[in-house]
């Protein structure tokens, strides 16, 4: 129990210590064959260790695969936030220079348009909308609306290019401009087959396209990839999206480098380059603000995007403690949206209440059990264990029957006249209900460690105390009780840690005021699908338990916890 019984804990001049001192002075001990004793001991123990590892290996693997890895992954979600930077890569870069006032410039909106077209094709924009909606209400519908409209960006330019030359309408022109010659060869070989085997070779950009028309190349590559993967079509047969024409317009109007292409393509490009100056223009910024949704003028929208553009975020954790990450920094949530701190406090308070109720109810039972003859105590122990053989759900549901206003307990109280029929007690769907039901459910976890510790306390201590003149109470309080503290410690840790993460019982009998933080976590996992927040809340709960455990170790000493 106590480390004081450990023979190594003795200091001073004992024969053992003298031998150890002599060993230290003589340097490393050698085995019979001259190798250091430590090494030959290690060698002798290695096989033993390997065998031990082999024995636990299946369970270890099972736990790592099914338990530790998924939990680590879930906890990682509490800080993971790459959805913004992955869905809106150009926008995030463009936003770096935004000063936070008003809507950003045309360039940013163009980036947003390009990103959103891709996102809308991949149907990622709604997911991003939901994610950002956790932070700023209205983002979800804004993104859904924008996803529908972005197809129109660049349409003006597409029409004008096609008027300029019919060739711009031809997929073949685009392939010739953009595709890597190797890919073209592979693709035509693949297409020449009677019955093509496997998918079309993945599209590859040519180097000259990336050099001459960087934006167009990037935009076209995304188009080609999505056409191939999502639509299972071929870029050789599809006219590019309008946004590709938009990119082409941007490339040609902003410093087009001649001389990279030759022949007809060069001719085509040169013509287009000289014509774009006279094109009818379209402001993407105006398009978003006027035709899509004027919410895009709201700096809060952009602030949210910028605040959550880094791949890792403290946002979920801040939400967990009723704070929020705003473009201006970290702030408290508005008063009416603060719920998590309250829930944490309530969880702690109720767990402590349940723990103390269990101590109060369990201690006398354990005391009785440990002092009864073995046959009687075994019978009683079975009664204590009986609840374990019944489903938790059944037991909790039984409490619902007992505790409700028309339930058994209220009926009895009314019948014996303790309360009037009109003033039946509200015992369920509130904190009282949760505390009553959970105390009952967790009581065995208090009784068992207490019992096993109390059984090891020999009766002669109390006898000795009485023979020394202590009244039965003093003998109990000063001699028996201190020796049963390790059992209280073990039971308390068990009950407290179990109750702090309890879910089913508070969910069923807790109503709105008797639920725990775990119920909120479950809600975010299964209903609101805000897994990041759920993971953050779970991480905080885990940290809380570890901190309490550490404090307990410091104050009571984990050596003083005994399961018997």
């Amino acid at each position: 129990m106590s480390s004081a019984t450990d023979p190594d804990a003795f200091t001073g001049a004992t024969p053992d210590n003298a031998l150890r001192d002599a060993d230290r002075a003589a340097g490393p001990m050698l085995a019979a064959d001259g190798t250091p004793l430590k090494r030959s001991l290690n060698r002798a123990l290695r096989a033993q260790k390997l065998r031990a590892l082999g024995l636990i290996a299946p369970l270890l693997l099972f736990i790592i695969i099914t338990f530790i890895a998924p939990i680590a992954d879930m906890l990682f979600r509490s800080v993971e936030n790459d959805i913004v930077s992955q869905t809106l890569p150009r926008t995030v870069v463009a936003l770096e220079d935004w000063n936070g006032e008003g809507a950003p410039d045309e360039e940013t909106f163009r980036a947003l348009g390009a990103d959103l077209v891709v996102a809308a094709e991949l149907k990622n924009h709604t997911r991003l909308g939901s994610r950002l909606n956790y932070e700023t209400v209205g983002m979800s519908s804004l993104f859904r609306q924008s996803g529908r409209d972005v197809d129109d960006i660049g349409e003006v330019y597409a029409d004008q290019f096609i008027v300029l030359s019919e060739a711009w309408e031809e997929p073949a022109t685009w392939v010739a401009l953009m595709a890597d010659p190797d890919w073209v060869a592979e693709q035509s070989e693949w297409a020449a087959q009677e019955d093509p085997i496997g998918p079309e070779p993945a599209f590859a950009l040519s180097e000259q396209a990336q050099e001459a028309l960087p934006r167009t190349a990037r935009s076209y590559a995304q188009f080609a990839q999505i056409i191939q993967s999502e639509d299972e079509d071929s870029p050789t047969e599809e006219e590019p999206w309008n946004i590709v024409y938009q990119a082409l317009y941007e490339d040609l109007s902003q410093g087009y480098v001649t001389g990279i292409y030759s022949g007809e393509l060069a001719q085509l490009l040169d013509n287009a380059a000289s014509a774009v100056g006279g094109f009818e223009q379209m402001s993407v910024r105006d398009f978003f603000l006027e035709e899509v949704d004027d919410d895009w003028a709201d700096p809060e929208v952009w602030g949210t995007i910028k605040a959550f553009s880094s791949p890792y975020t403290a946002g979920y954790f801040l939400s967990s403690v009723d704070m929020q990450l705003t473009p201006q920094g970290i702030e408290s949530q508005p008063e009416d949206q603060q719920i998590y701190m309250l829930l944490f406090q309530r969880t702690m308070f109720m767990s402590l209440t349940i723990m103390f109720s269990c101590i109060l109810l369990g201690y006398p039972i354990a005391f009785l059990l440990s002092n009864l003859p073995l046959r009687t105590s075994n019978l009683l122990l079975i009664l204590v264990l009986l609840p374990f053989w019944t489903s938790l759900l059944v037991r909790t549901s039984a409490w619902k029957v007992l505790l409700q206003q028309e339930g058994v307990i209220n009926d009895i109280l009314v019948w014996i006249g303790l309360i009037g029929d009109g003033s039946r007690l509200q015992l369920i769907n509130n904190q009282t209900g949760t505390i009553i039901a959970m105390t009952h459910i967790l009581l065995p976890f208090m009784i068992l460690p207490l019992y096993s510790v109390m059984k090891t306390i020999p009766p002669h201590y109390v006898r000795a105390a009485k023979s020394l003149g202590a009244t039965p109470w003093t003998a109990f309080w000063r001699v028996y009780f201190p020796q049963s503290v390790p059992g209280i410690g073990a039971g308390s840790i068990l009950v407290f840690i179990l109750s702090i993460g309890y879910y089913i019982t508070p969910e069923i009998v807790g109503g709105t005021t008797g639920t725990f933080i775990s119920n909120r976590i479950a809600y975010h996992i299964s209903s609101s699908l805000n897994w990041g927040l759920a993971a953050a809340l779970g991480s905080i709960l885990l940290a809380l338990v570890l901190v309490l455990y550490y404090l307990y170790d410091r104050i009571v000493g984990i050596d003083n916890v005994s399961l018997g």
Partner: protein, 368 residues
């Protein structure tokens, strides 16, 4: 050794027709009558299950007597709870409180008696010095050896200056050497402090060396209550004779009984021996005669009408200070004779045939 015989009219501890039953069917203690004088060291000796510990527990108050009265200093204490009896007690397993230091253990009986701090410290120091453990006040019981723990337990039982101290096999868990040292110390302390001690043990050596009187328990009764020398030399019945010390027994029938002499005819061989009648009443009674191994003589030079027995040496064991010879006598193979290792002592070898004899008063004819 001091033997007080005047105590019966002013007994300090008195058991008066005490009975005890745990299950309502059998009596563990049957009609116990015992008076212990003030300052006496009385040992209850007996095999396990003989009822000696039950008697001690009744005296301490942890068991209630089913019938009869227990009196302490003239007052009946049957219904007084243990903590109000003011009796010190030392347990076999020491029962030092493991969560308290030695000093705290000793302070415990003083604290519950509301004794002030400075007085408490004086008494603790005195008690610890008494058992030569003055430097160990700050240790925990687990850091002490068995002997040290028992010293502390003793100090704790004495620190509140009780007039009566009970000891329940206090040295049972210690090795021989330590046991002997502590036996001496306990008797010294008991006499120095003038306390009355009731000591329970199953070790007869302990009982003989420490006690003023020994009560030999068997089957819930006191078989004999006497001073150690009397108990050893003049056992009143065959149980005591066999339980205390080593003993040779021979079975036979009394053929002649006259005053303090009787002649017993042995069952096996029909030989006759002289004996001291202890509890044989008439000629023809069956008897078990008992002879201490050290009172047997080889080739005895006794009176002309004295009887001797033929014996054959089976085994000769050299034990240093004594020789131990196993003989076949009157048809029995387990007859032991002890002789001192003297220069002129004859060393026998197996197969030797000799005659043995003894003084009639050393051979006691007891009940069967």
């Amino acid at each position: 050794m001091l033997v007080l015989d005047t105590r019966s009219e002013q007994a300090f501890v008195e058991f008066d027709r005490v009975q005890k039953s745990y299950d309502g069917e059998t009596l563990v203690v049957k009609d116990l009558n015992l008076a212990i004088g003030k300052g006496e060291f009385l040992t209850m000796l007996g095999p396990s299950g003989s009822g000696k510990t039950t008697c001690l527990m009744m005296l301490a108050g942890f068991e209630t007597a089913t019938h009869g009265e227990i009196r302490l200093d003239g007052k009946e204490i049957n219904n007084i709870p243990p903590h109000k009896r003011g009796i010190g007690m030392v347990f076999q397993n020491y029962a030092l409180f493991p969560h308290m230091t030695v000093a705290e253990n000793l302070a415990f009986p003083l604290e519950v008696r509301n004794i002030g701090k400075s007085e408490r410290e004086t008494k603790i120091k005195r008690a610890l010095d008494m058992v030569q453990m003055g430097d160990f006040g700050g240790r925990r019981p687990a850091q002490l050896s068995g002997g040290q723990q028992q010293r502390i337990a003793l100090a704790r039982a004495l620190v509140f200056e009780p007039e009566l101290v009970l000891m329940d096999e206090p040295l049972g868990a210690l090795d021989k050497q330590l046991r002997e040292t502590l036996q001496f110390e306990i008797t010294r302390l008991a006499h120095d402090l003038g306390i009355t001690v009731v000591y329970v043990t199953h070790d007869q050596t302990e009982a003989l060396t420490m006690s003023d009187r020994v009560a030999v328990f068997d089957d819930g009764r006191i078989q004999q209550l006497a001073a150690p020398d009397e108990l050893y030399e003049r056992p009143e019945n065959s149980f005591v004779a066999q339980f205390i010390g080593e003993n040779n027994t021979l079975e036979g029938t009394v053929t002649k009984l006259s005053g303090d002499r009787c002649i017993v005819k042995l069952d096996q061989t029909g030989e006759h021996i002289d004996a001291l009648p202890v509890n044989v009443k008439k000629e023809g009674d069956r008897t078990l005669v008992s002879i201490r191994p050290e009172r047997v003589e080889f080739d005895p030079q006794l009176g002309p009408d004295a009887h001797t027995l033929d014996a054959e040496v089976l085994e000769f064991i050299y034990m240093g200070d004594v020789f131990r010879t196993r003989l076949r006598v009157a048809g029995r193979d387990d007859f032991i004779v002890k002789t001192r290792n003297r220069a002129d002592q004859k060393r026998l070898s197996p197969g030797d045939r000799i005659k043995i004899g003894w003084l009639p008063q050393d051979c006691r004819a007891l009940d069967t």
